[in-house]
Amino acid sequence: MVFNSLQYALFLPLVFVLYWTVLRKHQNKLLLVASYVFYGSWDWRFLSLIWISTIADYTIARALARSDDDKIRRRLMLGSVGVNLGILGFFKYFNFFADSAADLLNSVGLETSPAFLGIILPVGISFYTFQTLGYTIDVYRRDLEPTDNLLDFAVYVAFFPQLVAGPIERAKRLLPQIEAQRSLPRQDDIFSGIFLILLGLFKKVVIADGIAGSVNEAFARAETAGWVMLLVGVYAFALQIYGDFSGYSNIARGTSRLLGIELMVNFEQPYLSRNITHFWRTWHISLSTWLRDYLYITLGGNRGGVNKTYRNLALTMLLGGLWHGASWNFVIWGGLHGVYLIAHRFMRHKAPKKATDPLVASDILPILATFHLVCLTWIFFRAETFGQAWSYLIGILSFRSGAPDFRAISLLLPLGLMMLAIDLTQRQLRNQTAILTWPPIRKGLAFGVMVVGIIVFSGAAQVPFIYFQF
């Protein structure tokens, strides 16, 4: 079941009504059943993986809290890492490593063929394994008291608004909200929740799906298309992935708010970033903070001198790339971002502005430069193979001749301007629901345009959320 489907349009109101009326005293039980139905609609067999993760981390965290022996605690912690990364590794990376190992052996003259197992990637596996792993690490670090309520913990792992594509929530934020009694939402909660869902649908259905065909066409013709078409294709993908993923996060937050639970903000106008560090403070925030807290700091962070800081940055971004998928293209994507971050850290002489500080005219050039650096990495992210990415890049850099895709340009301009208008409005007021502050007629016009856009674009072939594959 996806957010932009008829099933979800029926599912959410049903859950909402039951949640606040007849099953109000059993909200967490309802949330758990609803979450399992939501997830099971893809493939019920993979619920077993969620159960394994849930039971393992619930049990290990409680054992961690009971033990003062460092050796035992460390073993328990490694047990949780083993279970979660074991599941993730098997389902997500087995084929990749088998293929890479076979290539390596073949390159040294040892003929072999990779042992593919035809493994299906369960939806959202990277998100919920990181979420449960984060919980156990927090308990291990004594930053968090484990819950003794299995139902609450199971809801924390499987909470349907953010189960399959985040935000990757921290137990410290989400678990207390699940444990607490929720009071009836106020009118403004409902209104802003619905607005977030509407905004998310607009970003997904109109902007991301509207431009998706042009992206597919450009990347399919990476070897032959002219540079203008290819360049427009990269801009289009930058718009598509942002609309797709931030739209998903908006719908997740809006849905959750209707259920009285607040999820973290996952995007804060990342393409308006003045530098690459700002970009990573505003893009997929729940993942970047997770990597910071559980990987970068574990590696030593910036405590071991400049060189170790650079090493830790590079490793964090490489693994962040690999988190997205079992492909060398993702590793290159992460590696490029690591290089950017190291270069920016090397060049930085004074304390930078905050990522969300107001924009001024002199910010335009740095914003454009940062955007283009990010676009370069999107080529590797989107391409299906390294060869395709390379052809694409060469096509642009060599100014390969070829006809522009006027249809793509005619879509990119209005859709890009709409996204820019949304981001500038949000940035100006530092708020995701900033449009709600507009005067009533202007606000009504904006809502009208969004609703008409969703009606018009919702009949097209459904494009899956990009981050579902991760």
Binding site: S192, N216, T224, M317, R407
Partner: protein, 357 residues
């Protein structure tokens, strides 16, 4: 980490407070907001109703399919036809039903080919729509090398468009809840009904305006209005687009597309129809050059056709004429009217022979 991170939970809480405060301010004006929203929807609906007056009602995601279904429904009321042709645009442009009728004894001839139709689409279209409506005694399947290419993106796109069309779902009684809802709301609202046009007005108006569609089929450039072989831009565009479109993977015989043709023949035979396959004409080496690996790709396709004919026991008519120059063609693959007349006349004679009439 200094370089990657983010807002603290305190900042997030502050942000949340601002959002709620904003929302509270926003709710004070809801009546005016709702009135404006409804006004926008009414204006959009009125514009859609105005626009919809001159538009077709696309059901099959392709105007030609809509038109042929309507024609076949009319023919079905008269008892069907004796011989039907299926395949892609080459069959549409090269085989003239009137010539076949004139030169043979068949009572009722219909060309049911769909432009761009590869094996999988031809299979579904023939089995589920054409055969049940027209109940033909003979089905002639015209094939070109691109029809059997499993890696062609345009083949996949065209097939997806057809398989997911509301017209097909309705015809087969397989409408999903979403399609039923679409149909219900489409009857109430022009905005819903013509939204396919509104999403992509250029291509859909081009597709649903018969005069423009005809020019495209005849290989006339949209902008220059030049005939195909005088237009280098158009020729280069064809070459570029064709690069991944015209190759058969010889290691995948029978692949999905070829397998669909075998399946189609066997199912037609099981229903009592006689089947003939035709290797359609092409414009010499210019066409061969469109294949990724040139002649070897074409040879693989040709070998696949022979293998299909042997396996299913149907006649294979070789319609290729390597000696034909571009004088017979509109473009690399489609015959012009002189070429189509000549080819159809020859084909009629060959059909009489292979069907022993």
């Amino acid at each position: 980490m200094a370089a990657i991170p983010v807002a603290t939970s305190t900042e997030e809480e502050a942000n949340r407070s601002v959002e709620l405060a904003v929302a509270e301010r926003g709710t004070r004006n809801t009546r005016a907001t709702w009135v404006t929203l409804v006004a926008v929807l009414i204006v959009a609906e009125l514009i859609a109703r105005f626009l919809s007056a001159g538009l077709a009602d696309p059901q099959w995601n392709f105007s030609q399919t809509d038109r042929k279904v309507a024609e076949m429904n009319a023919i079905a009321k008269g008892g069907g036809v004796e011989i039907v042709f299926v395949g892609n645009s080459a069959v549409n442009s090269d085989i003239i039903s009137g010539v076949i009728t004139r030169d043979t004894d068949f009572e009722g001839v219909y060309n049911a080919a769909l432009d761009g139709s590869p094996g999988v689409l031809t299979n579904d279209w023939t089995i589920n729509v054409v055969e049940p409506l027209l109940d033909p005694d003979v089905v002639v399947i015209g094939l070109t090398s691109r029809d059997l290419n499993d890696g062609s993106r345009s083949n996949l796109r065209v097939t997806d468009g057809y398989l997911n069309s509301p017209g097909r779902a309705l015809f087969l009684g397989q409408q999903t809840a979403g399609q039923k809802a679409d149909r219900f709301f489409g009857e109430l609202s022009a905005l819903v009904r013509i939204r396919a046009f509104l999403r992509d007005p250029v291509s859909l108006i081009t597709q649903y305006r018969d005069d423009i569609a005809e020019e495209r089929l005849r290989g006339v450039d949209d902008f220059t209005k030049e005939p195909y072989f005088n237009d280098d831009i158009l020729i280069n565009r064809t070459r570029e687009r064709a690069l991944n479109d015209f190759s058969v993977d010889p290691t995948a015989a029978p692949g999905t597309q070829a397998g669909a043709i075998v399946d189609l023949i066997e199912r037609l035979q099981s229903r009592g129809a006689e089947v003939v396959i035709v290797e359609m004409p092409y414009s010499g080496m210019d066409y061969i050059a469109l294949h990724t690996n040139g002649q070897s790709d074409y040879d693989a396709y040709h070998a696949t056709l022979i293998s299909i004919a042997d396996r299913t026991g149907v006649a294979l008519i070789d319609g290729t004429r390597p000696e034909w120059t571009t004088d017979y063609f509109e473009d690399f693959l489609h015959l012009n009217s002189a070429g189509a007349n000549t080819f159809s006349t020859e084909l009629a004679q060959q059909l009489e022979v292979v069907l022993a009439r």
